[in-house]
Symmetry: C2
Subunit: 316 residues, 2 copies
């Protein structure tokens, strides 16, 4: 058996917040990031690649809004927008990775699966939508959209009268086609799957798959996928080389090695703050608590020097 790793690319691996979002930027970023995966491939890993879609689906939502205003084109719901973003991003990753593998003389195939992810319709997240999506509205626009579409809004820090739509972020419980993904990767293919946390769906009372207006955390979905396909390692790639305790305070401290117990303690103590790091740690922890050998949180460019990065194992 070859080693099997799931690599979750952060949104900024493809498009950074300070960029405009052109295709040239996205292509360059994705090539720069993907080149680092060659180190893992050369070490004999089979790979599943998942990815964020924040900036891309944000743009798709804004375009939907603008298209309705300008040309009266009906807006698509969030599940379709996520599915659209999976198509565009997976294609960009697959094409660029094929070219990189060819240049490296590595004979591996790449295949991209449009992936639905199932959540529980009674997930408590539906009572408390937290994930901000789409454009900034004035309070008047937000009131209007709330009345018309039932959307929920929260105040945005980006202005005095700035409101953004919030949607629930329920927990993933099943990755549709996980056995196909496992078979493809075990046969040696690099599989791109579960982009943007997956297209959110749930089973209704008749066991029909129904669409959802929600966003599933991509690291949480990647961790579940890694668990279900029997991966040994989960790489969560982000924009810092290590996880820090008390980041940005005088007590800031690099965390290099963590076992499950210490990780849990840090989570309970709120050491990782409210930002985007806490969900990554939760995903990394869940993986090693459910059969995974090791979770690594680091930057893509640290994959060459495998001694950098926060490594979480069940026990030391």
């Amino acid at each position: 058996m070859k080693k099997l790793a799931v690599v979750a690319l952060g949104g900024n691996a493809l498009l950074r917040g300070d960029e405009k979002g052109t295709i040239e930027e996205q292509n360059k970023n994705s090539v720069d990031t993907l080149k680092n995966l060659v180190y893992l491939i050369k070490e004999g890993y089979n790979l599943v690649i998942s990815h964020g879609n924040g900036p891309q689906v944000g743009n798709i939502l804004m375009r939907n809004d603008a298209g309705q205003d300008a040309y009266d084109i009906p807006q698509m719901p969030l599940d379709i927008c996520v599915a659209d973003s999976q198509g565009g991003i997976a294609y960009m990753i697959e094409r660029n990775l094929r070219n990189i593998l060819k240049d490296e003389g590595i004979n591996k195939n790449v295949v991209s699966i449009v992936t639905q992810v199932v959540v529980d319709k009674d997930d408590p997240a539906f009572q408390n939508p937290t994930k901000r999506v789409g454009k900034i509205y004035t309070s008047a626009q937000a009131e209007d959209l709330k009345a018309k579409k039932g959307w929920e809004f929260k105040k945005s820090p980006k202005g005095n009268d700035a409101w953004r739509r919030v949607v629930p972020s329920p927990k993933p419980i099943e990755i549709i086609n996980e056995s196909i993904i496992r078979d493809l990767v075990e046969a040696g293919n690099i599989v791109i799957a579960s982009g943007g946390g997956g297209i959110p769906v749930f089973y209704d009372n008749e066991k029909n798959l129904q669409p959802l207006e929600a966003v599933i955390d991509k690291d949480s979905a990647s961790s579940l996928l890694a668990q279900h396909i029997g991966a040994s390692e989960l790489y969560i790639l982000t924009d810092v080389p290590f996880v820090y305790a008390n980041y940005g305070t005088p007590e800031q401290e690099i965390l290099e090695f963590l076992d499950a117990k210490d990780t849990r303690k840090h989570i309970e103590n709120g050491t990782f703050g409210e930002g985007s790091m806490a969900p990554k740690i939760e995903a990394a922890l869940s993986f090693v608590e459910n059969g995974g050998l090791k979770s690594v949180i680091t930057e893509a460019k640290q994959l060459e020097d495998r001694s950098v990065g926060t490594r979480i194992t069940k026990e030391y």
Copy 2:
């Protein structure tokens, strides 16, 4: 060996020209269409489903335009827009088909592959762009876009000063991941692939896959895929029960059975006019001339009564 068919869904199978394009319409149309595939599945066919994307990618292009005007969001090139449409449409088909199969008590899995399709960079189509895409512009806007982006335009019949962008429609020569698609369908999965004719790419002189501003005819790509995976039958579903010779003239005539020789003769005589039927016949003919047993051109709802539809075989 089970029988293997490729079914190409026309654009109107998902969204009709007289509809507004809401997700409710698209869901209803796709369910209505997909229910007819159950007849083929119950007869023991393994299926690959391809689909058009005309109305959907048209809307995506318009939204890109509107998003740039309203919010200065960079427009994505055509390859990304096609890839986006593959994600959204394949997901919609997969989810609805899963529910239909469950209702019918059919234990078959469905999987959607983001599909690149390779064309020849020296294809003569690049000298003569014919495929209209995106919104209608005034001549002043068209001149401006031609200067800025190098886009080509042709006059549209829809107005006095109406111009639309035209892109080449080159011939598909390779379906990326065709062997994966074949393996998945031979294992009993229903595979959704090559949507919208595929994401257009070509090999540059260094054998890198590069993106293209082009639209590949979806029936032509479906026919090539059917040939390469060894399908026995190709179903091209459209909005008429039969192909007609001299459609809309006093000489109009239903064509029920055609062999390759007669089909070629009709093509040479221009019997199918200039519309969208000619490329379907070419795709159907190419399939039976390259190992396929039978091509059928008909409406989805005729699949129950298998004696309706234009059936093309190599020989009578």
